[in-house]
């Protein structure tokens, strides 16, 4: 939401916070959904698709709440779908890491792991926040996220400590993706919790799993950022044009 004279500043921040959470879950879900029917093993095709469904479910909960906030503040008629399908690249507030192409299984796994560990810590904090609705959604979602952490940790270890080839692929994935993790901990005016406070716990968990996976945590990496403020990679535009095509082509239609 752009700042609007009619909405109070605090409501505007609350809306943006909720949209950030929704966009992050949706865009990662949209990326992961590309694995459905194309996974490396049937059982894992099912597993990553479970995670996809969880993320889309979370996104829906956050969007529905955002729509309520917007509609209460302004005389509008937003829905989960108008927010997901009719906003533009610059309005999306997801982390950059979510919109990166899937790459191979190592990249997908690593991204899921780095993100899910962050998301679990974030949800722990959100549960305790004073926004009752966000707290409730976080409480519901954290059960799913704990599973995502477990599943992706196991895969990071398996690939890191598997074959030479899988280890090399994990190292390449770390090279590609690590620079997008800094954004998790950059505070923004709409943050309802202090995201800087979860960084050390996050790093502790990453270190623990990487050690078991015989992988190293990079040092002194330059960190990319911008997603939370709507400054994205070039990938997002293509993702959105594909995802939004029917809603854009047939305005006002019900599906």
């Amino acid at each position: 939401m752009d700042s609007n004279q009619q909405i109070s500043k605090s409501t505007n921040l609350q809306i943006n916070q909720t949209l950030h959470l929704a966009d992050t879950a949706l865009i990662l879900g949209q990326r992961n959904s590309d694995w459905c029917a194309h996974g490396p093993i049937l059982e894992q095709d099912i597993a990553i698709t479970n995670i996809t469904l969880d993320l889309i479910g979370q996104a829906r909960n956050f969007y529905q709440y955002a729509a309520t906030l917007i509609n209460n503040a302004e005389n509008k008629n937003e829905t989960e779908d108008s927010l997901a399908y009719l906003r533009n690249e610059r309005e999306f507030k997801n982390f950059l890491i979510c919109e990166l192409p899937n790459g191979n299984w190592a990249q997908t796994i690593l991204r899921q792991f780095l993100f899910s560990v962050y998301q679990e810590l974030l949800f722990e904090k959100l549960i305790a926040c004073n926004d009752q609705q966000l707290s409730a959604i976080a409480a519901k979602s954290i059960k799913e996220t704990k599973y995502h952490v477990k599943w992706s940790s196991e895969w990071v270890i398996r690939l890191g400590d598997g074959t030479e080839e899988s280890k090399t692929k994990m190292e390449q994935a770390i090279d590609e993706i690590w620079m997008y993790t800094g954004e998790f901990f950059i505070a923004n005016d709409y943050d309802i919790i202090d995201v800087t406070s979860i960084k050390s716990k996050w790093l502790e968990k990453i270190n623990e799993i990487f050690e078991e996976a015989t992988l190293s945590v990079p040092e002194n990496t330059f960190m990319q950022s911008g997603g939370k403020n709507g400054i994205h990679t070039e990938y997002l535009g293509f993702l959105l044009s594909e995802m939004q095509v029917l809603q854009r082509t047939y305005p006002g239609a019900n599906w």
Partner: protein, 315 residues
Amino acid sequence: MSLHDLEKLFQEKIDKEIKIEPKDWMPDAYRKTNLRQISQHAHSEIVGMLPEGNWISRAPSLKRKAILIAKVQDEAGHGLYLYSAAETLGTSREQMIDDLHSGKAKYSSIFNYPTLTWADMGAVGWLVDGAAILNQVMLCRTSYGPYARAMVRICKEESFHQRQGFETLLVLSKGTDEQKAMCQDAINRWWWPSLMMFGPKDSESTNSDQSIKWKIKRKTNDELRQQFVDMIVEQVKLLGMTLPDPELKWNEDRKHYDFGEINWDEFWNVVKGNGPCNKQRLEARKKAHEEGEWVRAAALAFAEKRKNKLNTKAA
């Protein structure tokens, strides 16, 4: 016991509706027919994920997206049960997948048709799953135990899919003119291929008689096809749409709908590999498998390492 006695005993069990279990004696041809049919069914579930997977990224609402993903995932689950059921006949999943990729094993030809618009997600659910269900309901009572039990589970989910497909079309049929046209177009394109799903006419079908005697099948291709036509003719009325067959007409004597001649040249062409998507479907499966090779190798190597570690600890 002589082969003749074994066969006699086997047929008696079938006649008494006693299920055949993996460790029971069975004629080679029974084993082969079941293996062919169950693995073909498993492959159909897996290849069948592709035409619907094609619309996941473009599903027009978050609810539809979630429903579609869950549906395609269900199919993966069905593939798993069916591969497991087929494995009880003595062939590994790996071998079955190799046979699929080499072209030796077949899958349902219906999945060689393209999904061109969103309405195809409805038409596939309603017509393709609808046709599959009639076959599968029958298979819940098939004589091979593991197959019958897998089908019971699968049928529950499939009938849910069919309702979802119908509901997708129902929304379109009440929508804008463009949506209505999309709906009719999808029905037009999927109707005949759906009728072909029941296989050749009974008079042309090579496997039918023996399969019925062994109660692998309990209804013939033509009986199931007729049942499907009678069912869909009624349901299409609720959509306010039509089926693309001018010869479709109620026959008071037969108490069934008559319908036009299926284009069997098209059917055999698609079976032989000349359908619009045969090449892409198989290539997509092979690509997923080949690109997953290093992942499976890593998982195996890791499991070995852990086992060795545990053994060392134990010693």
